[in-house]
């Protein structure tokens, strides 16, 4: 099993379909509609951090990621040693746009801007350009564990050298055509699909990670990813994770999980649980929202009023476990104070 050093979360930013009200000591969400078919982000005021040109003509995938990354870096003055981004869907809207252009214009006089801005690697490249960071820079496109891969890479860096500050993040954009294609292909269908209708979502989260931290700061304590794992293998991994960190189920304050997966997992069903996808929808990097939410809960010791928790909520929060399932990907993340 993967063993990485503690990854302290210094700062975060989140762009979501939820309207977030952040105060110094607490946070809440404004009233939202449940049971929406698509959970689209509340379009931020891109001009806050991006220039007029990018705000007007930039690909939405890129704008979403860049905005969130720059908000995360807002008060940061230190040098960023690495920029690592994850996406599951990539830049689908500009890919569609270029494909349509190719059809409509019969491959003549096509827009180079559309092609260039259809690349998955766009966000991490442009964060580097805008912040003038010349260090390690990469983009993971690995479906449901794209964001987890960025954390693991950051952890590897902390094991390897004196790296201090790494920006990790994720962005996934939902388009009408993407939703239609997913639905037609049945890509996300499971045996429960006839009874539980999945809402698709989108969003972006960025976090500044460091290998140095102080008491009272939240850190990622453990992270495991699995491919094509059976329920048995997932159960074994969770058990081993607890053993490796010298804790038991009683030490876990809260679980953030995928509704369908959890019903099969041993020992976790008694934990107070938030089914985070009920709020942000299903998208490959939704676990980044779960990480963001966990950090906020641990720092503020508060769960937003509009969030439902299964089972009795403890009085203090010390450790949160995230159990995420997306098609053939599973991840387990332990976040601690």
């Amino acid at each position: 099993m993967l063993k990485l050093p503690r990854l302290y979360i210094k700062k975060t930013a989140c762009t979501s379909s939820l309207e977030i009200i952040l105060n110094k000591n607490t946070f809440n969400f404004k009233q939202f509609k449940k049971n929406r078919e698509k959970r689209m982000i509340i379009e931020p005021n891109y001009r806050e951090v991006l220039n007029a040109n990018i705000s007007r003509r930039g690909a939405r995938y890129m704008k979403m990621g860049l905005y969130t990354a720059l908000k995360c870096l807002e008060s940061n003055t230190k040098e960023i040693d690495a920029i690592i981004v994850g996406t599951g869907i990539g830049d689908f809207s500009f890919t569609e746009k270029f494909l349509l252009e190719m059809i409509e214009k019969k491959e003549e006089n096509l827009s180079p801007n559309t092609f260039i801005q259809s690349m998955d690697s766009l966000i991490s490249a442009n964060i580097a350009i805008l912040t003038q960071s010349d260090g390690y820079n990469t983009t993971y496109v690995n479906r449901g564990v794209s964001f987890e891969n960025t954390i693991i890479d950051a952890g590897l860096h902390f094991l390897e050298d004196k790296t201090n500050l790494i920006l990790v993040g994720a962005a996934d954009e939902l388009t009408a055509n993407y939703a239609k294609a997913i639905s037609k292909s049945g890509f996300l269908d499971t045996k429960h699909s006839k009874t539980i209708k999945k809402s698709l979502g989108e969003g972006s989260v960025f976090a500044l990670l460091s290998n140095k931290g102080i008491k009272g700061e939240v850190f990622i304590e453990d992270i495991q990813v699995l491919l094509n794992a059976s329920t048995d293998e997932i159960n074994k991994t969770i058990k081993q994770l607890l053993v490796n960190n010298k804790i038991g189920f009683k030490d876990i304050s809260l679980m953030l999980a995928d509704r369908e997966l959890v019903s099969n997992l041993y020992g976790l069903d008694k934990l107070p649980t938030i089914y985070y996808k009920d709020y942000v929808g299903e998208y490959p990097t939704s676990s980044s929202f779960a990480v963001w939410l966990s950090e906020k809960i641990l720092i503020t010791q508060h769960i937003p009023n509009l969030i439902c928790v299964n089972n009795t909520v403890p009085s203090t929060f010390r450790k949160i476990i995230i159990v995420n399932q997306y098609k053939n990907n599973t991840s387990i993340i332990l976040i601690s104070l």
Binding site: E108, A125, T138
Partner: protein, 400 residues
């Protein structure tokens, strides 16, 4: 910890397998031809590096009856290369269960070929094949990992044209941190109407066979290919009693942080990557006997790459060449294909000739090796890749 390259696997416009690729490189024979297979207005007008096998041909070659549908051309050529690499490294099915093995792939456009074939019907609400499952660059990797039983680590990355170079460095890091014993790393990209039109719209395509480092160069020829290598820790090599092909001596990664489509005038990002590679491998410029360049044939790249090399090597540049005139620019696969070509050069003691060169670029005056330079003693090779958006990776390989 020393990291070794124990297996190679490739399919490119030069052919299927290391042997065919080696023969063409050694003979100075290019794989660039006219665009044939893809249905496009550019058909017959554009030189490209095309793998002259249809998907059915590739399936026949694989002799597989269990390919999980739907699959993309990308998956087929990746599987061909990965199987050759595993075979070459003598990794059996039982080895995959026995050792901690990972798979890291890279691609820029993944299953775009299948997406573009179906997209018009899709938007017209006609029935189509399932293209959305194969669209993501993650799909081929996931299906291949599943097929081969690789469980310890799998991922796919995209850093444009330096993607597979980064897959190689990531693999090396996972081995060095003792998270894996063996890792298969590389990249893949197929030709598509999408990329042909994309690069055409950027005015980056040459309507003739490309001329890397030549003063009259006009741009790239696109290519398609898959290149994968097997990396192992020293302990794994000893345990399995394998004779490795080369040592992965070191690498350096840096961002140019300049522009989405152009490299900074002095190639600052590449300079930093090369210097980091020297530090990481504890070598200096005089230790390098051959530079296998990115050399795409664009006015911007070959100018800035040359300036970067001249700066880092203090004007004492060793033999260098670009192999893009053999295969075209295979995008994400380029980095791994370059490393495979470098290992071929290293183990057979020759420098690969740079085709189609006549006159040096006046700003740096660098002249590549033009013809196959035989019986050349090579200790260390540096191979560089630069991705659009400023992703620079430099890798050094050495004789064992």
């Amino acid at each position: 910890m020393n990291i070794f390259i124990s297996g190679l696997g490739i399919i490119s416009p030069l052919g299927i397998g290391v042997k065919e690729n080696y023969e063409k490189l050694y003979k100075g024979k290019s794989g660039i031809s006219n665009l044939e297979i893809i249905d496009s207005i550019h058909k017959g007008k554009l030189p490209v590096g095309e793998i002259k096998y249809s998907n059915d041909d590739l399936l026949n070659f694989l002799q597989e009856d269990t390919i999980e549908k739907p699959y993309s051309r990308t998956m087929l050529i990746a599987l061909i290369a990965i199987k050759e690499a595993l075979n070459d490294a003598k990794i059996s099915k039982s080895d995959i269960k026995k050792y901690r093995i990972g798979l890291i792939s890279a691609s820029t456009v993944g299953g775009i070929r299948e997406t573009e074939q179906n997209f018009e019907d899709f938007i017209k609400n006609k029935k189509t094949e399932d293209f959305i499952s194969t669209h993501s660059i993650a799909d081929a990797t996931e299906k291949i990992a599943n097929k081969l039983g690789i469980k310890h680590y799998q991922t796919t990355i995209n850093t444009a044209c330096s993607s597979s170079s980064n897959a190689i460095t990531l693999g090396s890091r996972l081995l060095k941190n003792n998270l894996l014993d063996i890792v298969i790393v590389g990249g893949v990209d197929t030709l598509s109407k999408y990329t042909i039109n994309g690069f055409s719209s950027l005015l980056l395509l040459d309507s003739e066979p490309c001329k890397p480092f030549d003063n009259d160069r006009k741009g790239i020829n696109l290519g398609e290919g898959a290149g994968f290598i097997v990396l192992e820790s020293e302990e794994s090599i000893k345990t399995r009693k394998i004779n490795p092909k080369a040592k992965l001596k070191g690498y350096g990664i840096a961002s140019d942080a300049y522009h989405n489509t152009a490299t900074s005038p002095d190639g600052i990002g590449l300079q930093k990557a090369m210097n980091l590679a020297f530090r990481n491998s504890q070598l200096t410029p005089i230790d390098i006997d051959y530079i296998n360049t990115h050399g795409t044939g664009t006015p911007n790249n070959d100018l800035t790459e040359g300036i970067a090399m001249k700066t880092v090597f203090n004007k004492n540049i060793p033999d260098f060449s670009s192999t893009k005139s053999y295969t075209g620019h295979c995008l994400a696969a380029a980095g791994a294909i370059n490393i495979i070509f470098s290992v071929i050069a290293l183990t057979n003691n020759f420098i690969i000739g740079n085709l189609n060169f006549k006159n040096p670029i006046p700003q740096h005056g660098l002249k590549p090796v033009l013809k196959t330079k035989k019986e050349k003693k090579i200790r260390n090779i540096m191979s560089n890749a630069i991705g659009m958006g400023g992703f620079c990776t430099s890798i050094i390989i050495s004789k064992c």
